[in-house]
């Protein structure tokens, strides 16, 4: 960094420019105030960034309320609720961490930051369970929509033996690699007598552990609750009268689907520009009963608790597009948040925080609270309809 000694001239008060004050600021307070305003302004940009998705949600909910009532059966309130509690708790620990930083208690900051990171990873783990469960059912954004009312079969040996979704295994590969890597690196660094970096790596390993905590917990819950009241308990939803404009098309589509499903699946095996997902599902969609997640109903494993595909409105896939965009973008911000928290974690281990220099903790905290704020709205908007 091109930091030069500031040229202090004759009429300076000899204010101590501590190493934590950047050269272009006159005082610690000016630095803090600037950073604070800066982060609030950045949060404004984040609010506006998400606003587009809130607009899309509002428009579709107000013009097509039926797709919301049909679609929400696929979303599990309990998992969403757990995620909400996890994030609220992480906000508490983050706020506690900011308080500790203001008092110069670096150890507490490190601990609180670590807990916050674990909560964040747990959130992502639960999300992974939710997403993989949906992808099993073919519930994907609009043009990849592939819902058939059946659970698709797992094919990977790992997935079959664990009784979980193939998708969940795929999503968990990177976290698994990271977990092992961080543990190994931590041990190696400890042996190389670099305690701070070793603790840092251990912290990252614990964070990734949080992902598995969430994923395992979520998966256990899913298996326990198949057919329970919080999830898909309603009778198949009847076609809404207002979709009269394309009701015929729906029926036609439904019948065509029944006839063509296997032909279509065969076609889906062809090369498709961005259809790797579709290919996987082509093979998954033959309805063989190897999947432990369904209720063992026989060859086509139709789950009676799920709506029939013919009963879903033409536009229900737009709900899921919006769902994936909103929760996906939010999850991306959680991931970014984990990265920022890791940075704060490292700096706490090195003992950077003091009562006149704690800005970065405060700023990352504000970012984290915004992520929580957005989820506070997403949860009722997506999960608590009706």
């Amino acid at each position: 960094m091109a930091v030069a000694e500031p040229a202090h001239d004759t009429d300076h008060d000899h204010h101590e420019h501590g190493e934590f004050i950047a050269h272009h600021f006159d005082s610690a307070e000016q630095q803090y105030d600037s950073g604070k305003l800066g982060i609030w302004v950045f949060l404004v940009t984040e609010v506006l960034f998400f606003s587009g998705l809130f607009v899309a949600y509002t428009l579709w909910r107000s013009h097509h309320p039926e797709i919301f009532t049909q679609a929400h059966v696929f979303l599990d309130k309990v998992l969403g609720g757990i995620n909400t509690v996890v994030l609220l708790f992480s906000s508490l620990t983050m706020a506690w961490g900011v308080r500790a930083a203001q008092m110069g208690r670096n150890r507490v900051v490190a601990q609180m930051t670590l807990i916050t990171m674990v909560c964040a990873a747990m959130f992502l783990g639960i999300k992974a369970v939710e997403y993989s469960h949906k992808w099993d059912l073919g519930i994907k954004p609009a043009s990849l929509w592939h819902y058939t009312g059946e659970h698709t079969a797992a094919v990977g040996p790992l997935a079959v033996s664990l009784g979980i979704s193939d998708w969940l295994v795929t999503l968990s590969i990177i976290p698994a690699i990271l977990l092992i890597a961080f543990v190994v690196v931590s041990v190696v660094l400890r042996l190389m007598d670099k305690p701070v970096w070793s603790t840092f790596s251990a912290g990252l390993a614990i964070t990734v552990g949080g992902y598995f905590l969430g994923a395992v917990g979520g998966q256990l819950y899913m298996q326990a609750s198949e057919g329970s009241s919080s999830h898909a308990s309603r009778a198949p939803v009847v076609l809404h009268a207002s979709s009269a404009g394309y009701q015929e098309q729906d029926h036609v589509a439904g019948q065509e689907k029944a006839v063509d499903s296997h032909a279509a699946d065969a076609k889906a095996g062809e090369a498709h520009p961005d259809g790797n997902a579709a290919d996987e599902h082509a093979s998954n969609d033959h309805g063989t009963d190897a999947h432990a997640g369904d209720s063992g109903h026989g060859a086509h494993a139709v789950d009676p608790h799920l709506p029939r595909k013919e009963d879903l409105d033409q536009d229900v896939r737009i709900f899921f597009s919006i769902y994936y965009c909103m929760t996906g973008l939010h999850a991306f911000h959680i991931l970014g948040g984990i990265a920022f928290l890791a940075w704060i974690f490292y700096r706490s281990l090195v003992g950077h925080w003091r009562p006149d220099y704690f800005g970065p903790v405060d700023y990352v905290g504000l970012y984290w609270h915004l992520v929580d704020l957005i989820w506070i709205y997403l949860f009722p908007m997506l999960y608590l309809i009706d």
Binding site: H63, Q249, P273, D356, P380
Partner: protein, 128 residues
């Protein structure tokens, strides 16, 4: 415990405020889950759930984000963003309301589509 105030601008939040806020948030979360399932709310359900969400958001902002003690400029900055979001939502809602029939009448792709028959262009070309 109440940290040193060398430079006077640190204001550590008292723990009781943090905990009270947290438990209130949990209680409100439970409340919103319960009220979501209630049929008697009818069309007001969405207002109730958004209202509770807003209360929760306000608590997070005021106490976790320390806005209660913050400078007015920061508060004004943050709140102004919601004004502009409401402008955006308001005008688009007003507009789309009027031409929904045209959108609804547009022929759609069938709901269950085989992956290779996407509406776009020949498979040989890349999408980007």
């Amino acid at each position: 415990m109440a940290g040193n105030h060398d430079h006077g601008f640190a204001h550590p939040c008292p723990p009781w405020i943090l905990f009270t806020t947290f438990f209130t948030l949990i209680a409100l979360t439970i409340l919103t889950v319960i009220t979501a399932g209630q049929p008697y709310l009818g069309p007001f359900a969405v207002f109730v759930s958004m209202g509770i969400a807003t209360i929760k958001a306000t608590l997070v902002a005021l106490f976790f984000m320390h806005m209660f003690w913050d400078k007015p400029i920061n508060i004004l900055t943050f709140l102004s963003s919601f004004f502009f979001v409401s402008l955006f939502i308001g005008f688009t809602l007003l507009d789309t309301d009027h031409y929904q029939n045209q959108i609804n009448a547009f022929p759609r792709e069938p709901l269950i589509i085989p992956a290779s028959a996407a509406p776009a262009p020949p498979p040989a070309a890349t999408a980007s």
